[in-house]
């Protein structure tokens, strides 16, 4: 019963947030100069005022902004996200079509970062101020500071161009490879470099975060108690220090998970990965408002849902939160 009220209260809040985001997105997007009519006209080379007016009338862009907003919000509430101005296909289909590719990439990067980052952070904390710590800290700083697209280009240069180990772009080979094993490994092989590119940035953040949290926790009194109880060092570090240092990591993992849908634009562009990020990028260039708004909406819904999951997870990991202390 308590959980049900909690769920209900959350659902109301979440709906309000998503609706606000829909309205804000709609308004923000109209701040950019130009619209789909000018883009279409530019491409076809026929820029006469009549064509522009006709195109705008067709998409309802000639009505006052407030009226457009009302129509749009009304449509969204009935789960009708509209059609793309360019392809005339329902944008919901286009987004859903691209979603798996993006989730595969961001999901892989998420798991990679969560496995490697905290492990490096723990190692650095155990070896604090010794060579291993210095190496990890320097590397983490490096990957944190380097722009993602730059890391991506370097990885392509080294592993695709120079060594020829991995494909540099796309999700599948244009000519399907021969043999079952090779065919099964085709997508995973394409996945490696974009995952590393996106993941290393987060690895760096997790490593630094974990190291800091571990060192801070290690100085607390209850860790001394654990030693005074005669626990072996691995137990002290694992069950006492790490278990408490884990809490900020979960919080940050929630933030990263919020980017699962919308956070890979740069990596997808560098590696020509057919995901939502590139869809959004193209839609932006072409002023395909409906499509862009649909991507934004999908991303917003993901953030809200994952925030909720993180909240629940934190409550489980740290019972003090639910108790209101």
């Amino acid at each position: 019963m308590r959980f049900l009220t909690f769920l209900l209260a959350w659902a109301v809040k979440a709906a309000a947030i998503v609706l606000t985001i829909v309205v804000l997105n709609f308004c923000l997007i109209r701040l950019a100069p130009g619209d789909v009519a000018t883009v279409l006209a530019g491409e076809s080379g026929a820029a006469d005022p009549e064509f522009l007016a006709r195109t705008r009338a067709e998409f309802g862009l000639d009505k006052p902004l407030a009226a457009q907003l009302l129509t749009y919000v009304g449509n969204v509430l009935t789960l009708d996200l509209g059609v793309s101005y360019r392809t005339r296909r329902p944008v919901a289909d286009m987004v859903l079509e691209r979603l798996p590719a993006t989730l595969m990439l961001t999901g892989a990067a998420f798991v990679f970062a969560l496995l490697v980052g905290p492990a490096l952070g723990v190692l650095a904390a155990i070896r604090a101020r010794r060579p291993a710590d210095t190496a990890i800290t320097v590397l983490a700083l490096l990957f944190y500071a380097m722009p993602i697209f730059w890391v991506g280009l370097i990885l392509i240069l080294v592993f695709s161009v120079t060594l020829g180990w991995l494909p540099p772009f796309g999700m599948r080979s244009i000519i399907p490879p021969v043999g079952d094993v090779a065919r099964a490994l085709d997508v995973p092989r394409h996945l490696v470099l974009p995952t590393l590119t996106l993941g290393l940035f987060y690895v760096a953040i997790y490593a630094r975060l974990t190291r800091g949290a571990m060192l801070e926790t290690a100085g607390l009194d209850f860790v001394k108690t654990a030693r005074a109880k005669g626990l072996p060092e691995w137990r002290v570090v694992g069950a006492h220090v790490f278990r408490c240092a884990m809490l900020p990591i979960i919080t940050f993992a929630g933030l990263q998970a919020g980017h699962l849908v919308g956070g890979a634009i740069v990596a997808e562009t560098v590696f020509a990965w057919p995901g939502i990020g590139r869809l959004a990028f193209d839609a932006l260039l072409q002023r395909d408002y409906n499509l862009l708004l649909a991507v934004f909406l999908a991303s917003a819904v993901a953030v809200v849902l994952i925030n909720f999951a993180t909240d629940l997870l934190l409550r489980i990991a740290d019972p003090r939160i639910g108790a209101g202390r």
Partner: protein
Amino acid sequence: MTAILRLEDLAIGLPPGADRSHAVAGLSLEIAPDEVVCLVGESGSGKSLTAHAVMGLLPKGLPVSGRIHFEGRDVLTLPERERRRLRGARMAMIFQEPMAALHPIMRIGDQIAEVFRFHGRPDRGGTRVLDLLESVGLPDPPLIRRARPFELSGGQRQRAMIAMALALDPVLLIADEPTTALDVTTQAQILALLRTIRARRAMAMLLITHDIGVVAEMADRVAVMHEGRLVESGPAEAVLGRPAHAYTRRLLAAVPRLAPRPHRGEALGETVLSADRIAKRYATRGGVLRPRRVVQAVADASFALRRGETLGIVGESGSGKSTLARILVRLLGADAGTVRLAGVEGNLLALGGRRLKPVRRRIQMVFQDPFASLNPRRKVHQIVAQGLLAHGVDPGTARQRVDELLRLVGLDPAAAERFPNEFSGGQRQRIGIARALALEPEVLVADEPVSALDVSIQAQVLALLAEIRDELALAMLFITHDLRVAAQLCDRVAVMRRGEIVEIGATADVLFAPRHEYTRLLLASVPGRARFDGA
């Protein structure tokens, strides 16, 4: 009987750059089985580090020399693996702040079971954990076993901590200030528990404390440390009764005696401040999941304060004494009540803006924490002069006044040019007092001003407050949890419990002929009364 623990010429070095080369030097000490030895000293005396050295819990990098014989072996020569086997099994330790010393999110039962498990004696049925919880007097052991530290009270946490330490029947229990963070009534219960345990088991106890009352209550033998050296040790009766070393004598003389002081009724002036039925409640904001919680912090508190008089407000944590102080200096609004200040028309609590400002300077406050209550980025003269400047005194005059004030509180005026971090706790509290006196207040509200200080420094600050009070005919509201301090300084005492003043009257009456049951309980809880005050 042979000693269970024997320290020989123990020395613990400090990293270069510290204020002395050794934290502990030339320390030799013996503890017999069944014996309670109290290691006494002020902060920085090395008593805690000594205990950590015995346990093998010193921070890495501190050089240790000498010998620590425990059950016949020199533990300093043992490999870490062997020492780990001793910790928690043959020797155990409990700490000052049980909330910090327990794993914040692990269940109490799991924390105790860990001790069994990692010493190769897993508690499969969980019965030994339950027995332990029962043996330290915790109610409903099955429930406590599943609880987490934040769900227990301070006293329950320390009991759980003790249960954990006793899990494998250690022959030596080291208790590092085990009751310092607890309220006085809880402290009395925990000390009683430690005494019971000791009577029931064959166990030696090394009790580290700065509180002479606790020593008088618990010790068979006393060892006094000062600046890393053992200055005196011997049977408790001898050390407390006929201290041989000058430092021990100073230390004992600094402890306030729980003895009635003459009431100075005639010497006091007219009433300067009177409070009538002050009330304040705190409420947490309710949410979907949380019910609204309301706490009556102060309920119908009434009292009067005369010129030159000190009224002590005593009570345990959460009794509302600090809330009351903050209401009087208008740092906090009250829900109801009237405060009248001589010469001011109307209710002080209802004054606003322009009418409040001139009144504010007449009531000033001294805070508990001498470290947190001074802005670390301002020089002393800026801190002290701030109030003067805010009330329109010109900078030249203010500066002169700062020098006078610093002299008044026993500091060199040259101190004005320095920053707070260059001063010790006692000196900082003097600066805080100078700041409060800058505006020549008639009423001084002091909220636990000596609680964070060592006993010798505490004695100096108390003497300073008494001197200033008499010199300036200050009315002082003195808030403290320490009945000894209240007895020494206050003309009258008000006892607060859960927001209510349960008893108020002359110190000699309230503390030495208490009428209220709670006052009697508080008094009975003051450690060391029998031995130390002859009560």
